[in-house]
Symmetry: C2
Subunit: 322 residues, 2 copies
């Protein structure tokens, strides 16, 4: 053991950009200087991805091969499909499950996941809409989805639900948990002694003193007060249309957003393609890039390796500080 944090890198959908991203990460000197890397996935998919590189990455990384329930012909077909397949979904799921189990057993410190296809994992029998829910269930944890993009860190109180369901699904406990996990992550992993956490309002102008909606006094203010009682330097509810600019200017270390687009609109503008999805509330670190399988880019030979490398690099930082 080197003392460096150990990262499991899952290969994602075999027809997507994942295998190529993982192979590129294995070849990254800066990443290898900061972490021990273990590829987790179907051995045939991993070998094909390594063979496709002009120069193979230097030895010294681990490979944790997942059980081969697909035939060689199925694996080849899944890799070549350029689209979601049942066999591809099975291969992707095997890697996620194996990596989660390695992390739960303490054999790796962090899991970095390459993109999967929702359609493929659904075809392979998975009921979860994505990595976050799947890993959370396997770990038995109540997690919060967060995004780190440069200096902007945001946790979401609700995620993949219809906008019309957001007001009824929000509750003070969920908002408080997002703030609490952000506070804990920033203290533990980023060495910020007393993180300043802003909590977004739901309504325009934070409801303008009760003119538009009542969620600010009814749900959000109690959550902020509970956080403050628990020792978290929380502020809010703050108008969502200015809070991200204030955070960017240094007034806050992190922001609790109440719904998907409230967080993702500013993150994608400010993160410029390198926002990292971070799952808070697990007993290990988990990150992923904020993009999909990019089947088109695979076909065109234009896969962009940087977001995955940034996600792995953040995982190394977070895991090193555990």
């Amino acid at each position: 053991m080197s003392g460096l944090p150990r990262l499991a890198l899952t290969i994602g959908d075999p027809a997507g950009c994942g295998p190529e991203l993982v192979a590129a990460a294995l070849a990254s000197r800066s990443l290898r200087a900061r972490a021990e890397l273990v590829v987790v996935g179907d051995r045939r998919v991993v070998e094909a991805a390594l063979a496709r590189r002009r120069r193979p990455p230097p030895s010294g990384f681990g490979v944790h091969a997942t059980p081969t329930l697909t035939t060689a012909a199925e694996a080849r077909a899944a890799m070549a499909a350029g689209a979601p397949t049942l066999a591809g979904g099975r291969v992707a799921l095997d890697a996620i499950e194996a990596a989660t189990d390695l992390a739960l057993a303490g054999r790796v410190d962090a899991v970095v996941t390459a993109p999967i296809s929702k359609e493929a994992i659904a075809a392979a029998g998975c009921v979860h809409p994505g990595h976050t829910e799947l890993i959370a269930e396997r770990a038995g944890a109540d997690v919060v989805m967060a995004f780190f993009a440069g200096g902007l860190r945001t946790a979401l109180a609700t995620t993949h639900i219809a906008l019309r369901d957001v007001p009824s699904r929000l509750d003070a406990g969920r908002i408080g948990r997002a703030g609490f996990l952000l506070d804990q992550a920033l203290r533990r992993h980023e060495g910020i002694a007393a993180p300043r956490i802003a909590v977004c309002a739901l309504n325009p102008h934070a409801g303008e003193g009760g003119l538009f909606g009542d969620e600010e006094p009814r749900l959000i203010r109690p959550a902020v007060e509970a956080l403050r009682v628990a020792g978290v330097d929380a502020s809010g509810p703050l108008p969502a249309d200015t809070v991200f600019a204030r955070a960017r200017a240094g007034e806050f270390d992190a922001v609790v957003a109440l719904y998907h687009d409230q967080a993702l609109i500013p993150l994608k503008l400010l993160g410029r393609g390198t926002a990292v999805n971070v799952t808070l509330g697990l007993p290990f670190v988990r990150t992923s890039p904020d993009h999909g399988t990019a089947y088109d880019a695979v076909a065109a030979g234009t896969v962009e390796p940087r977001p995955f490398r940034v996600a792995a690099s953040l995982a190394a930082d977070l895991a090193a500080a555990r």
Copy 2:
């Protein structure tokens, strides 16, 4: 007549930053080179603002004095209050009403409004939440609120309502009207032959094919199709978390947003304090800066004149191209 467009500048709340902003705009050479300026407001407030400048602006601007229903003592008190007052609200309303009437009579081409206090105009008996609604009613027009910030132009299908009311208040007609007025404004005022208009989705990932919410197929797609039938180059519904970055990158000329924060979060991040509020659907041009009365900045002597000047400058451009 110089052939330049004529702009009415309203003084706004007399205790706020408005009078100072108007006086600064009158002194702006670049603005005076492009428009004839007419200050609209209580003569005592206008004179006090001009007197407070180290050097008075050169002559050659107009003053349209509003009726004096407040006493001299009330006007002085309203100016000095540093806070909303009933008299201040009355003075602010008089200016807006007079400027609107000048524009409706064709005596000015555009109205640029300085910030008012909602509380003060409510105390003075106004039932509208702000300029946009007040001017729309006086003009008998069905207007759409829009924001222009650098290269990003956005119209809103709903404005100051609770987030939980957004899904039920949205309708295809409202979305279509926002797209249609944006298209018209960009053709007529900005010389874009076939503006490319993106229409936001309401739900995360544009509903992910019906997984979260049904507004995309039920309301938004029909609105986009109606726009296309009417000859507008409209696209959508597009995921809101990437559409603003795509517009910034040049893929679209303008975006129709469905609710306040969906538009204002990206605009305030990208506009960096100089987003201009534009009212579409009036028979004249109307702009305003995207900030409030700034009572604190007035007291501290730190009023920032640039956003009002940018709003006036945009009004001059839009009016020149009518």
